[in-house]
């Protein structure tokens, strides 16, 4: 029983294509090529999710998965090396792992007959808890984008922890790379790390002017994404990543020094903590107003409107917190990864 709508035919070839991209990304021997193909793989994934109706996930994947993480991989390769050494042997081990993985795959497939059909609206997943969100989002929180209301309210604790994960990644990468910039013998002499380019790459007038022109529009768009997340796809994460990406664009098309002359490192790291702090503070405020943690409904005494509007405003507040953290941690992670923790020059 094949799915009946054209949208499903749209997904099937894409799914095959995605597997192809994954195989290519892993088998290509130049790491830079692998990184680029991996970026394309993520864009494909984003299309698939848009095809399945998960617009917010597609948006996040386009911003986080495809955009920023590809930049991270590229800057890592920039600081190291793109070539892979071909070594003899090791085939037996690879084959052994291959057998193990195939057995595992077979085991997973053995559960296949148990699954509900793809896209069945009456499967347990779609019929147990999910209908509550669909029918109650407007009366409870006054937010038409169900994803936003579930994300920031019903399962707001998950989102707080997710922000904490980003925060950990940021301070963790800072702790790993930035602190103790010890110079080992291979550090600067390595031929792979290119000497300063023969001409100043920031000379590229077209790129520089185009980027300079684009950045304000990107930021405006990102603010719209955060603020309009109640009504359209988007929210703190997506907007935060685009804001961060706009600054990364500045760093890439000019250079790191240009960026750091405007944003000091200390203020970056403090702002990252501010975002999480804002989220936690909203939760704590609810606690002090007599509700449970993250129960925005109790904020109706200080925020305009009745309980449902208070929830809506509470969601906006935490989305802003998320946006701040994500924006500055993406930037902080980028400057550390791109310059190998030295913040002097880099991608």
């Amino acid at each position: 029983m094949m799915p009946s709508l054209p949208i499903w035919q749209f997904d099937l070839p894409l799914l095959v294509l995605v597997v192809l991209f994954a195989v290519v990304a892993l088998s290509i021997r130049n790491l830079m090529g692998a990184a680029i193909v991996f970026g394309a793989y993520s864009f494909m994934m984003c299309l698939i999710w848009a095809g399945m109706g998960a617009v917010d996930v597609a948006f996040t994947e386009a911003a986080v998965g495809a955009g920023v993480s590809t930049v991270f991989i590229v800057s890592t390769i920039y600081n190291t090396s793109a070539t892979m050494k071909r070594r003899p042997g090791g085939m037996a081990f690879k084959l052994f792992i291959g057998v193990v993985v195939t057995v595992a795959g077979g085991f997973l497939l053995s559960a296949l007959p148990d699954f509900p059909d793809w896209g069945d609206p009456n499967s347990p997943v779609n019929a147990t808890v999910a209908p509550y969100y669909i029918t109650h989002s407007i009366p409870d929180t006054h937010v038409p984008n169900l994803v936003t209301s579930v994300l920031a309210d019903y399962r707001g604790f998950d989102t707080l922890l997710e922000t904490v994960v980003v925060f950990i990644a940021c301070i963790g990468i800072y702790s790993i790379l930035r602190i103790e910039p010890a110079r080992t013998s291979i550090d600067e002499t390595d031929e792979e790390i290119a000497a300063p380019a023969s001409y100043d790459p920031t000379d590229s007038l077209i790129v520089r002017q185009a980027s300079r022109f684009m950045v304000p529009f990107m930021q405006l768009f990102a603010l719209y994404v955060i603020a309009h997340g109640h009504y359209s796809p988007g929210g703190g994460f997506q907007g935060g990543v685009i804001l961060g990406a706009s600054l990364i664009l500045l760093a890439v098309s000019f250079d790191l020094k240009f960026l750091l002359s405007r944003w000091r490192e200390k203020s970056l790291m403090l702002l990252v903590a501010t975002g999480v702090g804002l989220y936690a503070a909203v939760g704590l405020a609810c606690l002090f107003m007599g509700g449970n943690f993250l129960d925005y409904g109790t904020l109706d005494a200080v925020l305009p409107g009745k309980q449902d509007m208070a929830r809506s405003h509470g969601i906006l507040l935490v989305e802003i917190g998320v946006g701040i953290t994500v924006m500055f941690s993406m930037l902080a992670i980028h400057i550390n990864l791109a310059s190998n923790g030295r913040l002097e020059r880099g991608l």
């Binding site: 009946s4 709508l5 949208i7 997904d11 799914l15 597997v19 990304a25 892993l26 692998a34 991996f38 793989y41 994934m45 698939i48 109706g53 998960a54 617009v55 917010d56 996930v57 996040t60 994947e61 998965g65 993480s69 991989i73 890592t76 600081n79 190291t80 892979m84 090791g90 792992i97 291959g98 193990v100 993985v101 595992a104 795959g105 497939l109 296949l112 699954f115 509900p116 059909d117 793809w118 896209g119 609206p121 997943v125 779609n126 669909i134 029918t135 989002s137 407007i138 038409p144 169900l146 994803v147 998950d158 994960v165 990644a169 963790g172 790993i176 790379l177 080992t184 009504y231 796809p233």
Partner: protein
């Protein structure tokens, strides 16, 4: 066979995970391991998104004033879970890359065997 086609997405999920798992365990290059890890994660995300998909449903954003019909909107819950998973994934990837840079600074190599040889010296 009928079942296989109706559940084509699950098959793809399993294939993606096998690819990712294989490269996490068998590849010697650290960056390739990172990419394999990311592919493994996207496989899982694909699994969750496809169990939450509904045939002929619209995106889970309400428009207009009429009461929402459950059958016509995609499941928001799985989408939230996967938003979290994506962000966790990029955080892990960033950290793995930072560690890889640090390892490269020590050993001037991304090859696992070579690094282990270096460490034994």
């Amino acid at each position: 066979m009928e079942n296989l086609i109706a559940n084509f997405n699950y098959v793809i999920v399993v294939i993606l995970m096998m690819i990712g798992l294989w490269s996490m365990l068998a590849q010697k290059n650290l960056i390739k391991k990172c990419i394999g890890m990311a592919i493994f994660q996207t496989g899982i995300i694909l699994f969750f998104i496809s169990i939450g998909a509904k045939r002929g449903a619209k995106v889970p954003i309400l428009t207009g004033d009429e009461a929402p019909v459950v059958e016509q909107l995609a499941n928001p819950l799985t989408q939230i879970l996967m938003l979290t998973a994506i962000v966790v994934g990029v955080a892990t990837l960033g950290m793995a890359l930072a560690l890889a840079q640090k390892i490269y600074r020590q050993h001037a190599s991304f090859d696992e065997d070579e690094i282990l040889e270096n460490q034994r010296k």
